[in-house]
């Protein structure tokens, strides 16, 4: 990749972030905050060892979610259902992990497998609806998200999978220490970096490898670039939809695991964080479905989330960060669209010029 290309691909996200900073500055200014003080407080708080650890942990979760979304995006499939897939996958995995009393090397793979299987199965419903009945995956996954919520509250409240797990909250059986991935005190003595970060990195590497180095990945990208050309090249488009959706759902199933295996109360409770799926969509867009780009996107997002915690003390609503994130996403998709249109045009020009030069130097 030439330096020019790298610059080109960085231009859009950087511009989007800059633009969102401007918007946020204007908003803060309009409501009478000291903009500099606010940003300074965020920077100081956000770079403490504790915050950085929290950031890495949150980014781990976000990264997995974004990869799950990105693999769908790569072939124009919208898995809006990551939310439901990870919650259902997480609950089932937690329930299984809580019931196992085995050494970690056995228990943890089983837990991960259950999460993947359940996430994939839940996405499989949408995959079947799309390939067999022609139902748009956008609508079906939204519906499945809500159904998953109902299933989870039913299971935890009304079946014996659920029990009092933490203060005043019902959840699954607490996962025994053997089955956890608590991680290491890398940056701060008081708080650990999730062990699951290893799995997240592995997922990223695999994602890159499968997409860019395997025939399957090529088929998938080709389907995304041109469904008709892919089909003429021998890709079975229906099968592709199903497989991609299953993979996406499988990865999505793992989104809850970093928290579940690395954080108190080691149980899937009714208070388990929701909304990681939608964050994943935003980060996949920001990172342009690129494994490295997504990593930067996840870290940025997590940094904003963590450092925003200080804002309430500064008397600025910390939701200013959510606004900033929303603006980033909107700005970045507009920017990418404009960049894409320009790139196609400018490459044509460049090729024309390069050929003209070649010709004139040859003659």
């Amino acid at each position: 990749m030439s330096r020019q290309k790298i610059l080109n691909s960085l231009a859009a996200p950087l511009l989007a972030v800059a633009f969102s900073l401007v918007v946020v500055t204007i908003i803060l200014f309009a409501f009478g905050s000291n903009v500099f003080e606010v940003f300074n407080a965020m920077a100081v708080y956000g770079t403490s060892p504790r915050s950085l650890t929290l950031m890495l942990n949150l980014a781990t979760t976000y990264y997995i979610s974004a990869v799950a979304v990105a693999i769908g995006f790569k072939m124009n499939l919208f898995n809006i259902g990551v939310n439901g897939q990870y919650m259902l996958g997480g609950m089932c995995a937690a329930a299984v992990a809580g019931s196992l009393n085995l050494p970690g090397v056995v228990a943890i793979p089983i837990t991960i497998f259950v999460a993947i299987a359940v996430g994939a199965a839940w996405a499989g419903v949408a995959a079947w609806l799309k390939s067999a009945r022609g139902v748009s995956e956008v609508i079906s996954t939204i519906m499945l998200n809500f159904i998953a919520l109902g299933l989870i509250s039913y299971t935890i409240i009304r079946t014996n999978v659920g029990r009092p797990a933490a203060l005043n909250v019902r959840g699954t059986e607490i996962i025994p220490p053997n089955g956890r991935m608590v991680g290491w005190n890398l940056l701060s003595p008081s708080i650990k970096v999730y062990g699951f970060i290893i799995v997240a990195i592995l997922i990223g590497v695999l994602y890159w490898f499968v997409l860019n180095r395997t025939v399957f990945g090529y088929d998938l990208r080709a389907s995304g670039l041109s469904a008709s050309a892919a089909s003429a090249s021998g890709v079975n488009s229906k099968r592709m939809v199903v497989i991609t959706m299953l993979i996406s759902g499988g990865i999505a199933g793992m989104v809850g695991l970093p928290d579940l295996l690395g954080n108190d109360p080691y149980s899937y409770t009714l208070n388990f964080p929701s909304g990681y799926g939608f964050t994943g969509i935003a980060i996949a867009l920001l990172g342009r479905n690129n494994p490295i780009g997504i990593a930067f996107g996840a870290i940025l997002w997590a940094f904003l989330d963590v450092s925003s915690q200080i804002l309430d003390i500064e008397n600025v609503p910390r939701e200013i960060v959510t606004i900033m994130q929303g603006v980033i996403v909107l700005a970045v998709v507009v920017a990418y669209e404009l960049v894409r249109r320009n790139r196609v045009k400018s490459e044509q020009q460049n090729v024309g010029e390069a050929l003209a030069q070649k010709e004139s130097s040859a003659s």
């Binding site: 025939v215 080709a222 670039l225 041109s226 050309a229 089909s231 003429a232 196609v344 490459e347 044509q348």
Partner: protein, 514 residues
């Protein structure tokens, strides 16, 4: 008729696109109340000319005069205001709106914003009766067939008060009795003083309906004839259309062996509505043989190709190297030696927003040197891309640019190179030299000939009759999904072939289909 005033006068029209001159010095007089046909080969510049007349494109030079007044059109709206209406080859209709809604859209009769259905219906019923254009006004367009859709398009234009009607290949999608209905409607329109420009390359139909015929070749008007007074035959027209072209491909000596590579038995393709697009077609191609299919576009060629590639559903039996492969997937077919040069490279042949070396893998991604079946081998693929670019003279600064950055001819050379490199046993080549410059054209012909000599079986589809005659060992003529004639490429002339394609008659080089 000849004395009627001129309704449309085009004088000295020029239109250039990068690298192509679409229209060069077009001159045309169309008289009021006449049917004026414009004939020419694909790519002769008919469509561009009509787009200019309809305000969709601006001429670089030349003038347009409507009823004696010189006009400049900035958009179709200007043309509509000047009384020009166009019926596009691809209908511009909204399926989920009713016929009435489709027609009145944009010019609704209203009372304080509310559509006055009754006024519209009365007006349309009257128009429909006047010109014999019967359509069910309250049905949804999605429920109607092509014939009715075309009548809607014509009504749409008449409803807006057009007095000059452009019909772009109006019969291409119609079955014979629908063609008769259309022609009788056109006669009624003519009788009411409407001027009709009729674009076609079906010469028998042109002769049946036109009062005057203008022939366009290579962007210029080469002749205007009056079939009523001048004795002119379909052969004469075909000759004028084709002219004498520069390079002619020629295949010397037969390399046809008796080894049957592909044996197609009773191939049929149906539309969703059950209408046959390909109707019980059978043929064999031997090793070292090029079978050419001649036919006006839209008569089932594209469907034959897609069916053989396994991209669309079809019925019939496909024998390849002696085995029944009807159930094989597209991928299996490609892996086992099917090469494919698609008709529309943008749609089926390229990933426009991917680099050349990835495009080089397309269709062969499971094979060496692109992959080992599971893992890609980008280094090998890139080397091989560089080789193709060199051997097939693809003009590009690097193999990393997007395919969209190349010119059409260079894209085509890349595709031809890619398909030839996979060592195919059977090649489906649809318009292999379309949009390619003269030099590249003969290079592609050379490659096809060489492959044929080494035992390749080729199914060749081309609108370029010289190419078809020059390369093929056998020619079959396809009309409305069926083979209607065989031609011997040694003896047949492009004129005879062009005539046979329209289903007119048989002549020396043409025999009834076997």
């Amino acid at each position: 008729m000849i004395d009627a005033p001129v309704a449309v006068k085009l004088a000295g029209i020029w239109k250039r696109f990068p690298g192509v001159i679409a229209n060069s010095d077009i001159n045309l007089d169309v008289r009021r109340g006449s049917v004026h046909a414009i004939v020419g080969e694909n790519g002769a510049g008919k469509s561009t000319l009509m787009k200019i007349l309809y305000g969709m494109q601006k001429p670089d030079e030349g003038t347009i005069a409507i009823n004696g007044n010189e006009v400049i059109f900035h958009s179709p709206s200007d043309a509509i205001d000047a009384g020009i209406g166009m019926v596009h080859q691809h209908f511009m209709l909204a399926d989920n709106l009713t016929v009435l809604e489709n027609i009145i859209l944009g010019s609704e009769p209203t009372k304080r914003g509310v559509i006055n259905q009754q006024t519209a219906l009365t007006r349309l019923t009257q128009l429909a009766q006047q010109y014999g254009l019967d359509v069910p006004f309250n049905s949804f367009v999605s429920e109607l067939g092509v014939g009715a859709r075309q009548r809607i398009e014509i009504l749409k234009v008449l409803y807006r008060g057009a007095s000059i009607l452009i019909l772009d290949e109006p019969t291409a999608v119609l079955v014979p009795h629908e063609v008769d209905e259309l022609f009788s409607a056109l006669s009624d329109l003519k009788a009411e003083g409407i001027t009709i420009l009729f674009i076609s390359h079906k010469l028998d139909e042109v002769l049946a309906i036109a009062d005057e015929i203008s022939v366009i070749r290579a962007g210029s008007t080469v002749a205007t004839v009056d079939p009523r007074t001048q004795k002119v035959s379909a052969d004469d027209l075909a000759e004028m259309m084709v002219g004498s072209e520069l390079p002619t491909p020629e295949t010397r000596g037969s390399t046809v062996t008796d080894e049957v590579i592909i044996d197609v038995r009773n191939l049929s393709v149906l539309t969703a509505a059950g209408k046959p697009l390909v109707d019980d077609v059978s043929f064999k191609i031997h090793a070292g043989e090029i079978l050419g299919i001649a036919g006006v576009e839209g008569n089932g060629q594209a469907e034959i190709v897609d069916a053989l590639m396994g991209i669309i559903k079809s019925s019939g039996v496909l024998i390849y190297n002696g085995g029944d492969i009807s159930k094989w997937s597209t991928r299996k077919r490609r892996e086992q030696g099917f090469g494919f040069i698609p008709e529309d490279r943008m749609r089926q042949g390229l990933l426009l927003e991917a680099p050349l070396w990835e495009n080089k893998m397309l269709g062969h991604q499971t094979l060496k040197p692109n992959s080992n079946g599971f893992l890609l081998t980008p280094a090998d693929a890139k080397n091989d891309t560089a080789r193709i670019i060199d051997e097939y003279d693809v003009r590009t600064p690097s193999i990393d640019v997007f395919a969209s950055a190349l010119s059409g001819g260079n894209q085509q050379k890349l595709i031809v190179g890619r398909e030839m490199s996979s060592d195919p046993k059977f090649l489906l080549a649809a318009h292999p030299t379309r949009g390619v410059d003269v030099g590249a054209q003969s290079a592609i012909w050379d490659h096809l000939r060489k492959a044929r000599e080494s035992g390749l079986a080729v199914l060749l589809i081309s609108a370029d009759l010289d190419e078809l005659i020059g390369l093929s060992d056998t020619i079959k003529v396809l009309l409305r999904g069926k083979f209607v004639a065989d031609a011997n490429p040694v003896t047949v002339t492009p004129q005879e072939l062009g005539t046979a394609m329209t289903g007119v008659k048989k002549s020396d080089g043409i025999e009834a289909a076997s």
